[in-house]
């Protein structure tokens, strides 16, 4: 199958324009949610004394921020198909020469790009805040090279996995809010794993990181195929099977 980049770009641009105009989605999913996620923890970090640094070195506390790329795109992706369906724009869209795969790819790209931007921006903000306001010993215990690499690598992987789950739910759902709630719920396992690693319940090693990365890549591939298979334009348009 060849992907027509002009058509993918057309939907991608349209999606980004819609995000910009959809204040509640942008403020809710892309701003408030990540801040709610990090602000309380940051306040705790600022209050930590230098003596806690050695304890912090035992875990990878900042990896809990991988919850952001797991949760933020879920809301966007869950809206992607059912949102079009609810506002009556899916039928005109599918009546054009767009292929199912191009449509889904454009939706996934449109969800992942702002999600990565938000996740990396919030991570950079957190690092900057820790550097500026936390005790230097605490800061050096928290901000470590391998952890930053893990954050950079796993952010897109978790976001992509979250997006395919969200789009898959969106293709079978008939209500935007239900789809978004299910999308969030479906990503709780990812959040749980990153939190367990962050608090050293699961000890992070290079081997574990590689296994998780390969597993996520495989899941992303499977997710793409499953989502394509679930996208039944006939059911989406006629509401029947």
């Amino acid at each position: 199958m060849t992907v027509n980049t002009t058509r993918v770009r057309a939907i991608y641009r349209k999606e980004l324009r819609e995000y910009r105009r959809n204040g509640s989605l942008v403020i809710g999913a892309m701003a408030v949610l990540p801040l709610l996620f990090v602000v309380p923890s940051l306040i705790d970090v600022f209050a930590l004394p230098a003596s806690s640094a050695s304890e912090l070195r035992n875990g990878d506390p900042l990896l809990y921020m991988l919850g952001i790329p797991a949760i933020v795109p879920a809301a966007l992706a869950a809206y992607s198909v059912v949102g079009e369906r609810q506002q009556g724009t899916l039928e005109p869209m599918l009546a054009t020469p767009i292929r199912r795969e191009e449509f889904l790819l454009a939706k996934a790209l449109a969800a992942i790009v702002p999600s990565l931007a938000v996740a990396y921006a919030v991570y950079a903000l957190v690092l900057a805040c820790i550097g500026l306001f936390a005790d230097p010993a605490v800061a050096s215990a928290l901000v470590r090279g391998p952890e930053i690499v893990a954050q950079l690598v796993f952010t897109p992987l978790l976001a992509a996995w979250s997006i395919w789950i969200g789009i898959a739910i969106s293709t079978r759902s008939s209500d935007v809010r239900v789809a978004q709630q299910l999308g969030m719920l479906a990503n709780l396992p990812s959040v749980a794993v990153t939190t367990l690693v962050a608090y050293d319940v699961i000890h992070a090693t290079l081997g574990l990181a590689l296994v998780l990365a390969v597993a996520l890549l495989a899941l992303i591939g499977i997710g793409w195929r499953i989502t394509s298979a679930l996208f039944d334009s006939e059911r989406l348009i006629a509401g029947a099977r």
């Binding site: 939907i11 641009r13 324009r17």
Partner: protein
């Protein structure tokens, strides 16, 4: 819809220029001649025994018809008759359960879906616009999906064609229903479709907005674009369509509106007298050309006849011989609405039985 003029473009393009009266010439496809519009050549749409079932329930059953290139073809039917199902099937959005079809000369198969959709446009009943985006942003998205060369120029031309050039920057959410419908029509024209499917294009519009849409459809039809129009507005079909089909899950009839009237009602005469006849049975029963009769109003008689040209003089003579003051004897005037109601009522009566 004024101040536009369309010309014949190169290579099947739609030319829309400014400066001359519209809408009767505002859009035109090149390569479509009057002969083709009259039915010659490969049909734009050919449907053969198409059936579409949903969960074992038949939405349309064994439908066959063809539409010539350049024709304005109307599909009429009550709500739930299967009109939208036919449009969606021919637009490759739904796969037929059985039967075959060609659209824009291409066989309707899953593999040909992209190629067919490249050559047609569908304007669904609901405009389906992105309400947070402006008119031009909506059109830019679809110009990209159709890979329109020179999208900004093309968008400019279609907006002028639907008289919306001055609203290009407006957000669609603030537009009235009629204006949204025009934006949807502009969107449907972006790819210079060979076949344009319009599904209930004036549903919910006020009379002025409906008239605007009618004028544009008329202009497109005169310009040689094949138009497939579904509606339950019979006046709309009678005014715009060269031929109509009446659908009620299965196809009830196809033909020109006047042909359909002829088929169903030509064998009916209406005789009006100044005062009611004392013994109408004695007047009409003996006439060989009259098969039955009924009294419609006090001095009006509706006669079923074998051939109106033979029956009319005989009826007149019989009335005169009976001493009646004859006001008129003639074929009963019927609209497309009468044809429609006759056929749909037949279906309803059959379903009750």
């Amino acid at each position: 819809m004024a101040a536009q003029r369309a010309g014949v473009g190169q290579g099947g393009s739609v030319d829309i220029d400014e400066g001359a009266p519209a809408p009767n010439s505002s859009l035109r496809r090149s390569g479509d001649s009057a002969e083709v519009a009259a039915g010659g050549g490969i049909p734009a749409i050919e449907v053969s025994h198409v059936t579409k079932d949903f969960a074992g329930r038949s939405a349309v059953s064994d439908v066959s018809f063809s539409v010539a290139r350049g024709e304005v073809f109307g599909l009429l039917g009550p709500n739930g008759a299967g009109k939208s199902t036919i449009v969606r099937t021919l637009g490759t959005l739904l796969a037929p359960t059985s039967g075959s079809a060609t659209v824009a000369g291409i066989p309707l198969t899953r593999e040909n879906g992209v190629e067919i959709r490249r050559r047609i446009s569908i304007m669904p009943e609901s405009p389906g616009l992105y309400l947070r985006l402006s008119v031009v942003e909506n059109l830019e998205c679809f110009a990209g999906l159709y890979e329109v060369p020179d999208p900004s120029g093309r968008i400019d031309r279609v907006l002028r064609a639907v008289n919306l050039a001055d609203r290009a920057k407006d957000v669609c959410g603030i537009l009235s229903k009629g204006l949204r419908q025009r934006v949807a029509l502009a969107r449907a024209l972006l790819n210079e479709p060979e076949v344009l499917f319009l599904d209930e294009p004036t549903a919910g519009l006020d009379p002025v907005a409906s008239r605007d849409v009618h004028e544009l459809i008329g202009a497109l039809g005169r310009g040689g674009v094949t138009i497939f129009l579904t509606t339950h507005r019979l006046d709309e079909a009678e005014r715009l369509c060269t031929r109509v089909a009446i659908l009620n899950r299965s196809l009830r009839t196809v033909g020109r509106p006047d042909e359909l009237r002829e088929q169903l009602f030509a064998k009916t005469l209406v005789a009006r007298t100044l005062i009611p006849l004392a013994t109408p049975d004695a007047v009409f029963a003996g006439l060989p050309a009259v098969t039955s009769w009924r009294q419609d109003r006090p001095a009006t008689y509706v006669l079923a006849v074998s051939e109106s040209a033979v029956a009319a003089p005989a009826v007149t003579r019989a009335l005169v011989a009976a001493g009646a003051d004859v006001l008129s004897v003639g074929e009963s005037p019927h609209s497309l609405e009468d044809v429609y109601l006759e056929l749909i009522n037949d279906d309803e009566e059959a379903s009750v039985r």
